[in-house]
């Protein structure tokens, strides 16, 4: 071994995993070379200076605290599998909510806010086209309603031209020509099509005037909401603090799973002269904490766009129509709980035809490995939660591999046939 080699490999001498032979060679070298020996000693001293001699340990009570924290940790719900599509649920539930509210004369800030919401909604409704950029804490491929306060912000581009619109959140894109919609996730190579709106939040994104009309109605009629207003230069700001919307009597399963189903604070900025909405932010409130989950960063009214600019669909993806006329037709006239049991019994024996009807949103072949042979251990009564249009059926099942799991199976019957389909939770 020469000096150059020794210097290059000196770190090896401080590694316990070094082979005995190389170590011997290196040690032999320093015996015969004073410079390298001096270097080695200085290296040893530097390493000694950087090696703690004291025990560096956490505080005495840390171990117990850690155990407690681990035991108390709640597993996060799996977003992808929870609910695949959420069509039309919020509109009905919100309408129902207004019916149960006691009418109280609105306080002055609410009244002032109501006026701004109304005029800004009109401006948005009148625009021939809209271009918006918003950021939301979610996952790029996840359903459009899914909001996760612990996720990073994902930018959404929203374009509306007349009745047509397009929303792009990176991995998941939706387009509608005003009648039919198409939605796809390129990375999953999956596409769906249908009519109406593919998601509650998408309805509000592409029709922001509906959100402002909703806020106006809330300001006029709902008493559990706090309003603050202020003016700053040419801007008028309204802050709305309101509790989670939806039905929480039976289950809080969907609580905090979307913006509308969370206690939230919504901040709107309006132009005092034109009355146009300029920007908005939404915070989810978790106890004392608040997390900003959505910001509307840019709105261009009457942006120079034509319908053709937003209408392109990916060629490689085959679009399936999840809700066919016969979807759920073998599940008519029974309860959500019975429908869930019937679906899992079909999984056990892998009744392909019945499963295709019961689980229209998923390619059932993909479920086969996990769910064929599944056994039901326990089924509780179905519950409603939040704004979800259907029911959740709490089940305990046992898989072929012997593992068991507790599920909240989402069942809904707002289908063309009126029969139940499985919409998530597996």
């Amino acid at each position: 071994m020469n000096c150059e080699n020794f210097k290059l490999n000196i770190a090896d001498l401080f590694d316990e995993e070094l082979s005995a032979e190389i170590k011997r060679e290196m040690l032999e070298h320093i015996e015969s070379c004073d410079d390298c020996k001096a270097l080695y000693e200085e290296f040893s001293n530097a390493i000694k200076a950087l090696t703690p001699k004291q025990e560096i340990t956490p505080s005495a009570e840390f171990s117990a605290r850690l155990d407690k924290a681990i035991a108390a940790a709640e597993p996060k719900r799996q977003p992808v599998r929870r609910v695949l599509f959420r069509i039309g649920g919020a509109v009905a539930s919100i309408a129902a909510m207004f019916l149960v509210v006691v009418n109280i004369l609105p306080a002055t800030p609410a009244k002032a806010a109501s006026g701004y919401f109304e005029r800004a909604a009109t401006k948005l409704g009148q625009a021939q086209s809209l271009f918006m950029r918003l950021s939301m804490r979610t996952l790029p491929a996840e359903n459009f309603d899914y909001t996760d306060p612990s996720a990073e912000f994902v930018e959404h581009t929203i374009q509306r031209v007349g009745e047509a619109w397009r929303v792009d959140k990176g991995d998941r894109v939706a387009y509608s020509d005003g009648g039919q919609w198409w939605q796809w996730v390129e990375s999953w190579n999956n596409g769906w099509k249908g009519y109406g709106s593919p998601s509650e939040l998408v309805s509000l994104m592409v029709n922001p005037h509906l959100l402002l009309q909703f806020e106006q109605r809330l300001a006029d009629e709902f008493s559990g909401v706090v309003y603050e207003t202020r003016t700053d230069g040419g801007c008028y700001f309204v802050t709305v603090t309101s509790p989670a919307l939806g039905d929480w009597v039976e289950s809080n399963y969907m609580y905090m799973s979307s913006i509308l189903e969370s206690d939230s604070r919504r901040e709107y900025a309006f132009d005092r002269r034109t009355k146009e909405l300029l920007a908005a932010s939404i915070y989810m409130l978790q106890g004392e904490q608040q997390v900003k989950v959505l910001t509307l960063d840019q709105i261009i009214y009457n942006a120079p766009m034509v319908a053709d600019d937003i209408s392109h669909l990916p060629e490689s993806i085959e679009f399936v129509e999840p809700l066919k006329a016969d979807s759920g037709s073998s599940f008519v006239g029974i309860s959500a709980r019975q429908a869930a049991i019937k679906t899992f019994e079909a999984m056990k024996v892998w009744d392909k035809e019945l499963l295709a009807e019961a689980i229209p949103f998923v390619d059932i072949e993909r479920l086969r490995d996990d769910y064929q042979g599944v056994e039901i251990l326990e089924v509780k009564e179905a519950v409603r939660s939040g704004l979800y249009v259907g029911y959740f059926v709490p089940m305990k099942v046992k898989y072929r591999n012997g593992k068991s799991e507790e599920l909240m199976v989402a069942m809904r019957n707002d289908t063309p046939s009126g029969g139940w389909i499985l919409d998530g939770g597996i």
Partner: protein, 161 residues
Amino acid sequence: MKPERNKIIGRWAEAYQADLYRFARFSLGSAADAEDAVQDLFVRLASSSSDISAVASPRSFLIRSLRNLCIDRQRRRSLSVVPLSDKFDVAEENEAEVEVERIKRLLRELPAEQSEVIMMRTAQHLSFAEIAEVLDVPISTAKSRFTYGIDKVRKMLNDKK
């Protein structure tokens, strides 16, 4: 709640909490921050649904995860100012804390990629192979970062004499 998963995480916590604390103690500002980071790591693990049964080397896996978490925290706190008096109060509490601060002062002069390798070797007693696994770099890179860093500290100590 998946009891099996939590049992594994509980075992990991018992076996590696001291190791992980030491790592966090050298990466973050105070003992309280370090405990907080280790607790956060395990709570996140317990509440996530990722598959942990396939983790071959829990120690490397945990240190790697904790390192990411510490980097994230350092970034977030890089703009906040810690009053000097706070640091001195903590450092005077016990000998171990004094030692941590002394070593951190030496390491502060080095690029982060060198100081972290040194710290993993001297305080965590990880082998270069383990360090390479945590950092996802070749072993030769881990060694050369160590060598360059130690060489700088060696010169600093010589200058002091």
